[in-house]
Symmetry: C2
Subunit: 215 residues, 2 copies
DNA sequence: GATAAACTGGTACGAACGTATGGAACCGGG
DNA sequence: CCCGGTTCCATACGTTCGTACCAGTTTATC
């Protein structure tokens, strides 16, 4: 058991990051099966032994690579949350914005995050990262809702996050064309927001009337 | 390259299925990394060489195991779709039913389907299976909507499916307690249905009013 | 119940795996 | 600029992997 890397030198921190990036690439291409010490080192253009110097075990490497990636994603989401808009934002603008962000990330990239959320189920160390990323997405949704005039949008935001995640997942199966997924998403968001604005009583009443109409 | 198994004997079909079941078990426990010829055979209580007799390569084994599992899930969903209800089903009953089905499948089992939908992105052979399963869930949603009096629920059902899938995914991260997820899900379903019943004009008008109120 | 085909399972082999080692190369603090 | 610790990397070891082999056994068919 060699002593652990201490990363006091600049160059070594860079190399470590390169290894993590290479691992993410391989994971995206071929899943966790594609991540091996040798493959990661080769992808990063480094000698085979470099991975064992920086990572205790291969599982540590995978864990850390996935964790680092989802942290970056969390950061990106936070940045998006703080983007300044012109004062006048309609709900359609907001939905279009969210949908555009959704669509801009290709399915391949989205698959990465989804994989990480799933991996979190089996890897406790990733659970906080996953929850944080989903929380950041929720915060983004809350911010967008505020911009269009919805102030108490916490619960609504959670629903929208589920909607986005589910759409991202279905997208992977290719059941619907990309364009259709985007339309479905933004229209469902609009519906959820509208129901929220109308309030619980209106929703209850509407559903009660639906029931009566059926009889 | 030995000749392929032809499965003319009953015993051999049984063994093959046992191997597939063992593979799914291992996958659920440790992901695709846990699926090896030897591990699968050992789990099924069969000799190590049995896997190579029935499956050309290990990837074929994984593919087929995941495919078989999701097909079973599709069948289950179709069965649920045809369940008879007492004539009088309220939207709350329907939402509760869907949520109960959701909750009854533990997170671990749900993770399996989610993994398969994701794997479909990289494995073309699984894509049809995945789309079929999502389609079956959508059909179930359509059937439930019809029971509560919504006739033109195709698009609405697609949104609900996304909602369910996204909730299942978020559940894996443990961000919210199980109970909260269930409440969020059924309340969001109610909102979506209500918005659908109210119609596009009402939704548009509501959102327009929200915009005015903001100014 | 005989026979050809299919299945079984002990065994084996090369490749790729994770991991360890130790001297050479390198860098940052003094 | 020099020294001590850090980082690098060629190499190696034991393990486990995927896959192949084939003599022996069991099965479906007639």
């Amino acid at each position: 058991m060699g002593t652990k890397a201490q990363l006091t030198q600049n160059r070594s921190r860079v190399r470590r990051d390169e290894l993590l990036a290479a691992a993410i690439e391989l994971f995206a291409e071929g899943g966790s099966r594609a991540i091996t010490h040798r493959a990661v080192a080769a992808r990063a253009g480094l000698p085979p032994a470099s991975t064992t110097y920086y990572f205790e075990t291969i599982d540590d490497l995978i864990r850390e690579a996935l964790g680092a990636h989802v942290e970056q994603w969390t950061t990106d989401l936070t940045t998006l949350t703080n983007v300044e808009f012109e004062a006048d934002v309609s709900i359609d603008d907001a939905a279009a914005f969210v949908t555009a962000v959704f669509a801009a990330r290709g399915p391949e990239v989205a698959a990465l995050e989804l994989s990480i959320y799933l991996a979190a189920a089996r890897v406790p160390e990733l659970r906080d990262n996953a929850a944080e990323a989903l929380g950041a997405l929720e915060t983004l949704a809350v911010a967008m809702l505020e911009r269009v005039g919805v102030e108490d949008g916490a619960v609504l935001a959670a629903a929208i996050v589920a909607l986005i995640a589910g759409t991202a997942l279905r997208r992977q199966s290719g059941q619907y064309p990309e364009r259709t997924e985007a339309l479905l998403l933004s229209s469902a968001i609009r519906d959820l927001v509208a129901a929220h604005v109308l309030g619980a009583e209106t929703v209850d009443r509407t559903l009660a009337e639906l029931r009566k109409a059926k009889a």
